[in-house]
């Protein structure tokens, strides 16, 4: 079932926003195929009528009250930024 080729690796890398040099695509395809092939033993398991696990915690989502008790910390938010100007994060220009 698993047939990850060079093009698939390139596509996944693009989705994951990781640059992978051309000469690394082929070996990586081999590696991923190996892992996916091993993973595919799951197909042996009959999971008809089995609900996927939604959460390990057997509880309902807790709700927070609608109060403002955070924010107002521009310095903290920007402190670790590689580039911040005039209170903004700055990134290479995006053309829409």
């Amino acid at each position: 079932m698993s047939d990850i080729d060079k093009a698939t690796v390139a596509k996944i890398a693009r989705l994951a926003r990781i640059r992978i040099e051309d000469d690394k695509l082929e070996p990586l395809a081999g590696e991923l195929n190996g892992i996916m092939g091993w993973i595919e033993q799951l197909n042996e398991v009959n999971t008809d009528d089995i609900a996927p696990m939604a959460s390990v915690v057997n509880a309902k989502l807790r709700w927070r009250e609608d109060v403002v008790n955070d924010g107002d910390k521009q310095d903290s938010v920007l402190k670790n930024a590689p580039r911040a100007e005039y209170g903004f994060f700055a990134v290479p220009k995006v053309i829409e």
Binding site: E65, E85, Y86, K93
Partner: protein, 495 residues
């Protein structure tokens, strides 16, 4: 209106429209963090470390956003899902700090509902709503501040949005406009969203396809982020025309995302379609499934005000208003509230039954008051004449103190000075003359002064009665009670 047709060279086409509306939920804090949602702060000042997606930060849900989504669902008669799930929608963008948007994909909080459109010809149309789900808004990128850099402000990042997805039930730009208008009315009525399209609290993605009548659905294009009702109509018109032209030229429509340019009046393909999106949705493991019980839904239902459709029906059946007036009065919650307060005050002052004065009250609000407000560029909440003050004026007409014509002058003074109707009538001596003896005296004088007209009248030109009424009113400075004048004049003219 449903027969909106695009005439092509090879025949007629119809347009099929579906809308995905993003409505900002009215709440103090964000969907998953305690930062403020207020508009217009310093950049990145309303950002928590959760909103900035610092490593190890986790989302916690704001109950008010859940409540508002449920109320919105109830307001459109939709099924409410007591179990829903938050999913991650994965994609990279500078103003999406987590690298994913927390949304609801497979299990939304609200299922199918209906919105009833009020169309111009007094007809209605039911448009299906597929679902409503809760999701986070993204931040804002500014591309024009620096030659090499885009600036990112995360103040909006994490603000709660409801995505309200319609079925492809609309067939004309007008219907799409009516849908948005009605949806906006509803969310504003219930206070779930302020409906402010200029500030981006409400925006629409418009799905448009065309087909020859009787054919299956065509390939659709999605026009992203249209931010006014007028633009939605325009965008549909030009997009439908574009698609028809392509099809008639033998081409086919690419399913794609487009942008509407209101200046050029065209839609264009978005550049970023260089790769198909693959959002890799999966349930957000930082959150548990969202669950609530019937009691929560019941409480949400009880908190709903009377909704526009119900209010309109009541205005028509109980108050006897006509369809048009009822529609206009309920279109904005504030107008409806004003009208109801005004009517109550009129009833209070005149002692009459609501149905007796409702139509007059409606006419006064819609023509006199709205006319003045429009001229002054004011909204109803800014009106210098309030409901009680207006009711006083109407009561003066009702009890015969002043005539309707005088009332218009009085209202003008009220509007500009803020004085009460009674004060103005008193100060300017505008009280209507209803003293029979006095009016009779004037009538006699008028008849005596116009023997020719009297002769003509008596020879059969009964329309000349208007002339005599006019003369009497003129003599009294408009203050004579017109009903009384008519009543007294006729026997005297007839001799």
């Amino acid at each position: 209106m449903s027969n909106y047709v695009i005439q092509g060279a090879t025949g007629d086409f119809e347009v099929v429209i579906g809308l995905e509306v993003h409505a900002q939920v009215t709440s103090n804090a964000k969907l998953f963090s305690g930062a403020s949602t207020e508009f217009g702060a310093e950049p990145n000042a309303q950002v928590s470390l959760v909103d900035a997606a610092m490593p190890g930060m986790l989302p916690t849900i704001n109950e008010e956003c859940v409540r508002q989504a449920v109320r919105t669902g109830l307001a459109i008669g939709a099924e409410i899902n007591k179990y829903s799930v938050f999913d991650r929608k994965n994609y990279f963008y500078a103003d999406l700090p987590q690298g994913y948007q927390i949304s609801q994909f497979k299990h939304p909080i609200v299922g199918e509902g209906t919105i009833v459109l009020d169309l111009e010809d007094g007809k209605t149309k039911h448009v299906g709503v597929e679902r409503i789900h809760l999701e986070q808004d993204a931040g804002k990128s500014m591309h024009d501040q620096h030659p090499q850099y885009t600036y990112v402000d995360l103040n909006r990042s994490g603000v709660a949005l409801m995505e309200i997805v319609s079925k492809p039930d609309m067939r004309s730009p007008e219907e799409a406009g009516a849908y948005l208008t009605k949806l906006r009315t509803i969310v504003r009525y219930i206070g779930a969203c302020d409906g402010n399209m200029e500030q981006g609290s409400m925006r629409a993605d418009v799905n448009v396809s065309v087909r020859r009548p009787g054919e299956g659905l065509g390939t659709r294009c999605e026009i992203k982020n249209v931010n006014s009702i007028r633009f939605v109509r325009q965008a549909i018109e030009v997009e439908a025309r574009r698609q028809v032209d392509i099809i008639e030229d033998g081409g086919s429509i690419d399913q794609e995302t487009r942008l509407f340019d209101p200046v050029k009046g065209e839609t264009r393909s978005m550049r970023s379609k260089e790769e198909a999106h693959d959002y890799r949705y999966f349930p957000d493991p930082d959150l548990l499934p969202l669950e609530f019980d019937d009691a929560f839904i019941d409480a949400a239902r009880e908190s709903l005000p009377e909704l526009p459709d119900a209010k309109k029906a009541r205005f028509m059946t109980e108050l006897g208003l006509n369809d048009y007036n009822a529609s206009v009065l309920v279109a904005e919650g504030e107008t409806a509230d004003f009208y109801e307060a005004f009517l109550a005050a009129v009833v209070n002052k005149t002692g009459k039954k609501p149905a007796e004065v409702a139509a007059k009250a409606a006419n006064w609000v819609l023509s006199d008051l709205f006319g003045a407000l429009n001229k002054a560029g004011l909204t109803i909440s800014e009106s210098p004449v309030g409901a009680v003050a207006g009711a006083e004026l109407l009561a003066l007409i009702e009890d015969g103190t002043i005539s309707g014509r005088i009332a218009k002058d009085v209202f003008e003074v009220m509007f500009s000075t803020g004085k009460s109707a009674e004060t103005i009538v008193e100060e300017q001596g505008l009280k209507q003359v209803s003293d029979t003896g006095e009016i009779e005296k004037i009538i006699d004088a008028v008849i005596a002064a116009n023997p020719n007209q009297l002769a003509q009248y008596r020879s059969g030109k009964d329309k000349l009665i208007g002339f005599f009424v006019g003369q009497v009113m003129k003599e009294t400075g408009g203050k004579a009670n017109p009903g009384l004048v008519n009543q007294l004049l006729k026997p005297k003219l007839d001799g």
